[in-house]
Symmetry: C2
Subunit: 212 residues, 2 copies
């Protein structure tokens, strides 16, 4: 398999963790987002969305990190990144999507660029925007975790799942932008526990060959 990613993309970071957890070998192609390589004709031909990550599995090109994780779970089921029961699976997916749909889309590079270049926001306002969505979004995740007895060492029990895979990159971004996570002790505890697992630690941005 071949992963088209970028060390700092948190969606690519998710896929790296999932591949590592499942023990799957992969090569990486690096799409430098700051240098706009995602808009190059070659990459646009590969993924018309001009977004990363994209994962090649033989002749199949997969896009959208959450869809890629579902595909990996269906084609390489063990070790699982979703629980076995329908309610548990729904809970893990809801936690993952509370990050993938409610936080991350508001704060990726193209959105931040648009806020400054086209909406005319100052750097200060842009950073306020960033922190607002990360802090309120992770507080919502915190309240979901606190409200449910299924929360364990990981988001759902004592095995890492799709929820943790989405959480860890979001926490890394939060820290990079100086967000206040003091209202999120459970999120923080689980994030720290995840990083004791090699699959998570090895997927970190700073450990990637294209890290700057």
């Amino acid at each position: 398999m071949k992963l088209y990613g970028y060390f700092r993309s948190s969606a690519a970071y998710r896929v790296r963790i999932a591949l590592n957890l499942k023990g799957l070998a992969y090569e990486q192609a690096f799409i430098h987002l700051q240098k706009n390589i995602q808009f190059s004709p070659d990459f646009a031909k590969l993924n018309p969305q001009q977004l990363i990550p994209a994962l090649e599995d033989g002749d199949t090109l997969l896009t959208q990190s959450v869809a890629i994780m579902e595909y990996l779970e269906e084609t390489r089921p063990e070790p699982a990144i979703l629980p076995k029961d329908a309610a548990g699976r729904a809970r893990v997916r809801a936690l993952a999507l509370a990050i993938a749909c409610e936080i991350h889309p508001l704060n990726n590079l193209r959105v931040l660029r648009y806020l400054v270049r086209d909406m005319g926001l100052s750097e200060e306002k842009k950073n306020q925007w960033y922190r607002h969505w990360v802090e309120t979004g992770l507080q919502a995740v915190e309240s979901l975790l606190v409200a449910d007895s299924h929360t364990g060492n990981f988001c759902h029990g004592d095995k890492p799942s799709m929820a943790d895979i989405c959480l860890v990159p979001q926490i890394a971004n939060a820290k990079r932008f100086g967000c206040d996570l003091s209202a999120c002790p459970t999120v923080t505890r689980i994030g720290e526990h995840c990083l004791t697992v090699e699959a998570f630690a090895n997927a970190a941005p700073e450990r990637q060959p294209d890290a700057e």
Copy 2:
């Protein structure tokens, strides 16, 4: 089952379509987003995310529209809203998430409010923002549809799937805000075809009891 929704919420609209396609009966509770009922203590206790939709299935409370659709597919598999093959499922999910992660999160009510109230944008700038993400986002969906021979009367072949379920509410929003869809003929064609199906037509905002 009981759906907590709002006629104009496109995420609730998705769940209404999915329930209809699967022929599942449900009652509705109406959470008036403009009146901030989602922030009421009663609703916050039900869904700490303070977001709709939420679906009660017996004792299980489900949140996040995409997670709800996956749950319905697992617990009420027929008629299916995902193809049977892993690559097809990945394609449908990627199309659904190209809307649910790349377009809709940027344009929901709380984000638009924040842009005006906290970021100080004018109504005109806010509408420019709205149209930008819908138009570029649906153009990305268009290019995915055009590039793939699996595209049929619906997004994937000739049966409605999760991709169509996400597409139709997004098109409805696009029209409401006067977005330019002239670059998206395939998107438009599929959207119109979907509306000939009763399950889609009956889920439309204007047909809901809380429509204004």
